[in-house]
Amino acid sequence: MSEPGTLERAIEATLFAAEEPMSVDAVASHLGGLELAEVRVALAALQAHYIARGVHLVERGGRWHFETAPDLAHLLRREKEQVRRLSRAATEVLAIIAYHEPVSRAEIESIRGVQTSAGTLDVLMEAGWVRPAGRREVPGRPVIYATTPEFLDHFGLASRRDLPGIDELRAAGLLDPVDEAMEAAMRFEPDETDDPDSDDDENLAD
């Protein structure tokens, strides 16, 4: 590795610490009135040095600055995906929408028998499983909700008709008397416990 010259080092440090891109003039005068030509030579040498590195020295409109190498730009903004299990409250709302769509929030609440926080519908829309599907033409014109193709996709359904009917649910024991089912749910809460940060439905847990 060739050692950088004094001027090269000075320019490197100056541009690194600068809050804004600097013109050759500005660099030369900052470093005590250097010849523009020698600054240009040093800038070219620096630029060549950085070409293979993770940071590049670039000129934009006559002004120089360091920036991340274009092929590494994705490192500046990273997306972290976090998988979370849908809370029980949200699952109930989703099921009601799926079985009754299109359905308004008031209708969801009257079916659930519990108030539904705005956040629950937001979560379902964020998940991409529910979408607003217009308004019901009744007083107040409430927004009505329906499921999306992504919903069918995620739950492995060809269509909503594939959802098991009430009779099938009963046969599967899923319509057991509410107190027993509730008790079981309260005792085990399996969905909630393996998802420590699903705090969005504490108030809905009845």
């Binding site: 440090a13 690194f16 610490a17 600068a18 809050e19 804004e20 600055h65 360091f66 920036e67 991340t68 490192l75 500046l76 903004r77 990273r78 997306e79 972290k80 995906e81 976090q82 998988v83 979370r84 299990r85 849908l86 029980r88 699952t91 109930e92 989703l94 099921a95 009601i96 799926a98 079985y99 079916i111 659930r112 028998g113 979560v123 964020e126 998940a127 499983w129 995620h154 739950f155 492995g156 359904l157 959802l163 098991p164 009430i166 649910l169 599967a172 899923l174 319509l175 057991d176 008397p177 509410v178 089912a181 509730m182 749910a185 969905d191």
Partner: protein
Amino acid sequence: MSAAEEPFMLGLPDAGADEAVLVQGAKPGEEALYLALDGWEGPLDLLLDLARRQKVDLRQISILALVDQYLTYIERAGALRLELAADYLVMAAWLAYLKSALLLPKDEQEDPSPEELALRLQLRLQRLGAMREAAARLMARDRIGRDVFLRGSPEGLRTDRKTLWRSDMFALIQAYGQVKARTAPRIYHVANRPVMTLDSALERVSAMLGVTLEWMEIRDFLPPHASPELKRSALASSFVAALELAKRGRAELEQEGAFAPLRIRRLKDSAAVSVGA
């Protein structure tokens, strides 16, 4: 040992001053500077400064010489009518005591010995001196924003958190089942159990008593073909009915012993036995 108590921890708040203040009216120069006691952060600070002027290792400092210098400064300050903070005077008194003790013959000394007190003072001066030195070296390091600089305009790193929601078919239909089960209208069935009410027992027993004046066992009042459940109910009701009739003076009860048959008969003088009379 009130006189021997070291006046090291003094109630003087630090002045926070970086440089000594020149005494007004005094001649500029070292003398004046040295008499401006505002420049020191307390007597220990002044002592350290004096000690350093001896230009020897603090470990070999002459405490007696140091005491003399301190006392001299305090006296000169007094002569110049400078306001002296109380702790400088307390220190002066203590040092004067220490000096006299150091000069006294050994056998007249108390505990702790003046040598110990002098050593303690020396140790404290060493520690303060060490920290002052360390502070200076620390401040002289390459400091960010003064000697070294960080990147002027870093792009910044951003992490966008995205939640991937997960659920499954079973959870979905189970949740729906629970909603339906929870909110389904509930119908209560009350089973019709075979009982004989008190009213009907009263009616039955009075009617049967009207037939004869003979003793009758209470069992004979029970409906003959009743189910075991109804019989138990009828027995209980008929017993209560018999007690009620006895209370009204229309019948009398008799039982020869515990668990013996309970017998009942109409009282002769109550010709008309009728419920509710």
